[in-house]
């Protein structure tokens, strides 16, 4: 167990190191003249020279990468010139909004996705099954930027029930959360269905029914707990989908989170902020997946990694 935890920690650290290398290549090596790109248009030559010296751009690439890593580890992600503040602070100020949206979407995903999946599996072959499968296929096929706009059109423009942009009250989160949740909900519903169907066919479920357990207890306590492992894995990987989906959802609804920040930063060519958001998202993804892997051992006591 301890060896397993240590190995996963080591792998996560390696992955993050790889991410930093990829970000370094994309933002420092690909552009050719990064100092010009990292500075706003029309910056004086003295500023370009100063940044060149600061970033060590006259050094060979591996030395530059060393400098880059050292400053990132120290928490120095450079200055955002759009906001004239440290890029790290600009990004951390936006994380709460994205976390709020992602959490709301995650709650919708688990609540609706798992319920639909259980319903479809328990009532296999009935119209409940077909209806939930149809909803799931639909949810996976609607592009979220279009779904968001259609929700705005229906609930904002036509019915005027809900606000379509901004961040003031709980009513503002409803439409973006639904938009962001649609795809992962569909995925979770389908996965829960197939996973439940497999478990419901097992011998110990028949034994449970034979000994007179209530159907509710068979489904929820015996089957669902075992069906949850693959669902949880996919939820972990869906963190990436949520963070990526937030980029588009936040842009559609003017939600002031990390996703909108990175899109705006690209248009302002505010690369220190872009770099910070990339590294942050990857860290969140890797960290949460590490947690999910460790959670397995709690959900499924049979899993004991040596």
């Amino acid at each position: 167990m301890r060896a397993y935890v240590l190995r996963r920690l080591w792998q996560s650290a390696l992955t993050l190191l790889g991410v930093s290398l990829l970000v370094f290549v994309v933002l420092r090596v690909l552009p050719g003249d990064p100092a010009k790109m990292l500075l706003p248009d029309g910056a004086p030559q003295s500023a370009v020279d100063e940044l060149n010296r600061q970033l060590g751009l006259h050094e060979p690439l591996h030395v530059q990468y060393g400098i880059f890593i050292r400053s990132v580890v120290r928490g120095d992600f450079g200055q955002s010139f759009q906001y004239r503040a440290p890029a790290l602070r600009v990004v951390t100020e936006r994380i709460a909004a994205t976390a709020e949206l992602a959490l709301a979407a995650l709650i919708l995903t688990v609540a609706i996705g798992v319920s639909l999946g259980i319903l479809a599996a328990v009532r296999r072959g009935t119209r409940y099954d077909y209806a939930s499968t149809f909803l799931a296929v639909l949810g996976q096929s609607l592009p979220n930027f279009w779904l968001g706009i259609m929700l705005i059109l229906l609930f904002g423009v036509a019915l005027r029930w809900l606000p379509t942009s901004g961040f003031e009250s709980w009513r503002h989160i409803v439409l973006p959360a639904i938009t962001l949740a649609a795809f992962p909900t569909a995925l979770v519903a389908r996965l829960t269905r197939s996973s439940m169907l497999e478990i419901l066919g097992r011998d110990y479920i028949r034994t449970g029914r034979a000994k007179g357990l209530a159907e509710r207890s068979v489904v929820l306590r015996h089957a669902l707990r075992n069906a949850a492992v693959p669902v949880l894995t996919v939820l972990g990987l869906q963190i990436g989908t949520l963070l990526g989906g937030a980029v588009i959802t936040e842009s559609v609804f003017a939600w002031p989170g990390m996703g909108k920040l990175v899109v705006d930063a690209i248009f302002f060519r505010d690369f220190p902020v872009v770099q910070t958001v990339l590294i942050f998202s990857a860290t969140i993804f890797v960290g949460l997946n590490l947690v999910v892997d460790l959670l397995y051992t709690v959900i499924d006591p049979r899993i004991r990694y040596s």
């Binding site: 990829l22 970000v23 592009p143 930027f145 706009i149 690209i266 993804f285």
Partner: protein, 286 residues
Amino acid sequence: MSRVDAPVTNSGAGRLSPTALVGGILLALTVLASVFAPVLASSDPVKPSYSRRLAPPWGIGGTSAHVVGTDNLGRDILARLLHGGRVSLTLAAISVVIAAAVGIVVGLVAGSGGERVDAFLMRLADVQLALPVIMLAIAIVAVVGTSPAALVGVLALSGWVLYARTVRANVLTIRRLEYVEAAYTLGASDVRIIVRHILPNTLAPILVIGSSQFATMVLLESGLSFLGMGIQAPRPSWGLMLAEGRDYLSNAWWLATAPGIMISLVVLGANLLGDGLRDLLDPRAG
């Protein structure tokens, strides 16, 4: 004379489900409509015509000259949808092929190379998965520009991991099968084993991944174009049309609605086809 038994057939397997067929037809129709765009839509998809701006679709106040209406610059929306389809579908198809090729090669190398090569390549796959595709994509596009070649590169870069992991897993399994070990013992080369035994056995899952990845690529391309980082105006692109239509939601809802329906149809078609192929070719995957 003894009776000859009828040959054993496995009916049931080997037939595409009705929903998968629907998906295939949907996909085929959109592809055909895009290929024949110049024939089907006579209007110019790019040239503005200010005298007929924001005409509603046929049947709700519009005329049959512009079945889906016109946009804010008076361009025929149907013509833009079909020409936009050419761009989106071509980019998606090329990206799927490149991603598959790269993924297959990486998977083969990881599966049949040494332990260290394998570990390195799989960590690389982890790195790729750790970054949300759309964020990496917009960062790259911001640096290298929004040319179609850059778009294809970004899309392909996002897709190789799934193929690589699947091919690798298959190589590791197939290599231990007795007949493959026998082939080794008889002196068959690595290349021969890969070409004769491993690739044919891996084709089915690759096909399944490819068809559902086509859906992902269409979504990703239109998403990037929607954000202004893909196809640039005035070229028609579904994502871009959607973005332009946002400003007219209250007085011309069809601008943003029509391209979304096209994207959804293509993605739905590819997803249904992918699911059907999986059930058909890889029954274990459920």
